[in-house]
């Protein structure tokens, strides 16, 4: 049995959950069921949303101490869930929240945790997992050690949410957990956004992203025109944000956000690995760059070698024709 840990905040399901479910289906040998657990204060809506997709039984874990995420409460709850279900694998999306509590859960249970997984070889308890090492310069095939359950976190964008095999609506069962509120050591305030216009780029369908090739802050407007014409969010590689040409929360890459939109248009981005790890899971990638040898073309579906200052206005023009 494979247990997937869904992630939700205030009733909104993180779509990386579907990617983890897709990975679970890839890992699942014939007839091995997948179950999904969702934790929170009230999770009925999210649990029903997952159950409706018919990917496997859904376990709803509701507790007042889970209403606001803390690593202490989530680890305490997840330990009880894993002990009760006794799965072979526990799959989680490799989000910041997973990074915050999954190693604690693994350490407390003395179980193996393989993080940031991009591929799975084989299925069942003998499976091995592919994950990047050395900032993506190398791919490692790793085997969890010790006894199951093995914990595995799945890189955002490595599996496709739309590849999930769906079936007839599944059942939701609730499971109660015991959490001593006084044992929770972290006291979180409500999340806030630093900038008012900040967006969660991981939820965007289309992204237009700019790199050093844009040359100056004034030229950002050229990229914004394209984003508007495509109905896309604007984003950037690290150097653009370091220069303050776009706000930090629009940075894509290992130190910024990881995204997997339907369409990712890279303008003047050379494609350093720190950037690629943040966007290579995009379904369709367009690269426009002067340098035909730029590494961005290695991950692009469509490439134009040319001057973005000429090509981009031409694309906007074409889109406006309708």
């Amino acid at each position: 049995m494979i247990l997937v840990v869904a992630e939700q905040r205030e009733g909104r399901l993180n779509r990386a959950t579907w990617e983890a479910i897709a990975a679970a289906q890839a890992l699942s040998a014939e007839g091995v069921p997948v179950q999904v657990v969702v934790l929170g204060g009230t999770v009925a809506t999210t649990a029903q949303e997952i159950a409706a997709a018919g990917v496997g039984d859904v376990i709803a874990v509701e507790h007042v101490s889970l209403a606001t995420y803390t690593p202490d409460a989530f680890t305490t709850a997840m330990r009880q869930v894993v002990d009760k279900i006794a799965p072979t694998f526990v799959l989680l999306p490799h989000t910041y929240q997973t990074r915050d509590f999954a190693p604690m859960l693994a350490a407390r249970m003395r179980k193996s945790l393989v993080t940031d997984v991009t591929g799975i070889n084989g299925n069942g308890a003998a499976a091995t997992f592919i994950r990047p090492m050395f900032q993506g310069k190398l791919a490692a095939e790793v085997r969890p050690q010790g006894e199951p359950p093995f914990l595995v976190s799945v890189q955002i964008g490595a599996y496709r949410a739309d590849a999930v095999r769906k079936g007839n609506a599944a059942a939701v069962t609730s499971m109660s957990v015991v959490i001593d509120a006084s044992a929770i050591r972290q006291q979180p305030d409500a999340p806030f956004q630093e900038a008012r216009q900040a967006v969660d780029l991981s939820q965007a369908d289309r992204i237009v992203s700019v790199g050093r090739g844009i040359k100056s802050q004034d030229n950002i407007a050229i990229a914004k025109n394209l984003a508007t014409a495509m109905g896309a969010e604007i984003a950037a590689s690290r150097p653009i944000c370091d220069n303050g040409w776009l706000p930090m929360e629009r940075q894509i890459g290992s130190s910024g956000q990881t995204v997997a939109p339907k369409l990712y248009v890279a303008l003047g981005i050379s494609g350093a690995i720190q950037h690629l790890v943040g966007m290579k899971g995009s379904r369709t990638i367009v690269a426009i760059n002067k340098d035909a040898d730029a590494p961005i073309f290695e991950v692009a579906d469509y490439g134009i070698v040319g001057d973005l200052f000429e090509v981009v206005p031409a694309i906007v023009n074409e889109l406006e024709k309708g």
């Binding site: 190693p103 945790l113 791919a139 490439g303 090509v311 031409a314 694309i315």
Partner: protein
């Protein structure tokens, strides 16, 4: 305030990977090393906290003899002394083994605060700090962008995804993993480098019987996953063809 900073030595960003003969690890003799970048920010944050609140900063590192390079560098930037869990097997150790090695070395010191980078630029598990917190029995928070000390407790600003942040209060002792960019790094002065030579580096043997949590079966160069369709022509022609394909082939517009 007694602060520990856990630092890892990793290959430089410019390093071009080469594999050992059985392709389970890198050819270490080819590698030049540097301080893991997020750990450098953790060190800087520790030095700033000491400047504000007093106390000492102790560098902790688990690795072969070669890691003395980054320990000396941390001492030159201003750390007071160091603990070095010294063993050749630690060069390729996973997060569980590294955390257990550090926990054994740090247990008796009773640090008020332990800082480390959010992940390493080599194996990149993003696990070691959190596991270490659990083994030391202290609360933790990850991907931290600001630290405020209030009496015997801290308030920290945790980075969430998508431009969101959150303030979290917790008691000391505690462990935090630090995000790159939390501060501006300082570099070692000549005076600092000279002073570092006299600072204590206590060597600690690796505790026996640490079981790895994962095994590297094979390392390889990542495979190129896509066949790029290059679109030629004048800007107007290329634009027209690209838009057509995005609409009709890829169906993303």
């Amino acid at each position: 305030m007694k602060i520990a900073v856990c630092i890892k030595q990793v290959p430089t960003r410019e390093w071009q990977p080469r594999l050992n003969d059985d392709k389970t690890w890198i050819r270490e003799q080819d590698v030049s090393y540097e301080m893991n970048e997020p750990d450098a920010y953790a060190l800087e944050e520790a030095l700033r906290l000491r400047e504000k609140h007093g106390g000492e900063v102790v560098v902790c590192s688990a690795g072969p003899a070669r890691v003395q390079q980054v320990i000396r560098e941390a001492l030159a930037r201003g750390a007071d002394r160091a603990l070095h869990v010294d063993d050749n097997a630690l060069g390729s150790a996973d997060a569980f083994v590294t955390a257990a090695a550090l926990a054994a070395a740090m247990g008796d010191e009773r640090f008020d605060l332990v800082l480390t980078g959010l992940q390493s630029d080599d194996q990149g598990h993003a696990q070691m700090g959190v596991i270490l917190a659990e083994q030391l029995g202290v609360p933790h928070s990850t991907i931290i962008m600001e630290i405020q000390v209030v009496d015997a407790a801290i308030r920290v600003k945790r980075e969430l995804e998508g431009g969101w942040f959150q303030w979290i209060a917790m008691p000391l002792p505690a462990l935090l993993t630090i995000q790159s960019g939390i501060n501006q790094l300082r570099y070692a002065t000549l005076k600092g480098i000279m002073a570092a030579k006299k600072k204590e580096i206590r060597k600690i043997p690796l505790p026996g019987s640490l079981q790895p949590a994962q095994q590297i079966v094979a390392l390889s160069m990542p495979t190129r996953s896509k066949q790029t369709q290059m679109i030629a022509g004048s800007p107007a022609e290329a634009a027209r063809e690209l838009v057509r394909r995005l609409r009709e082939e890829a169906r993303v517009l």
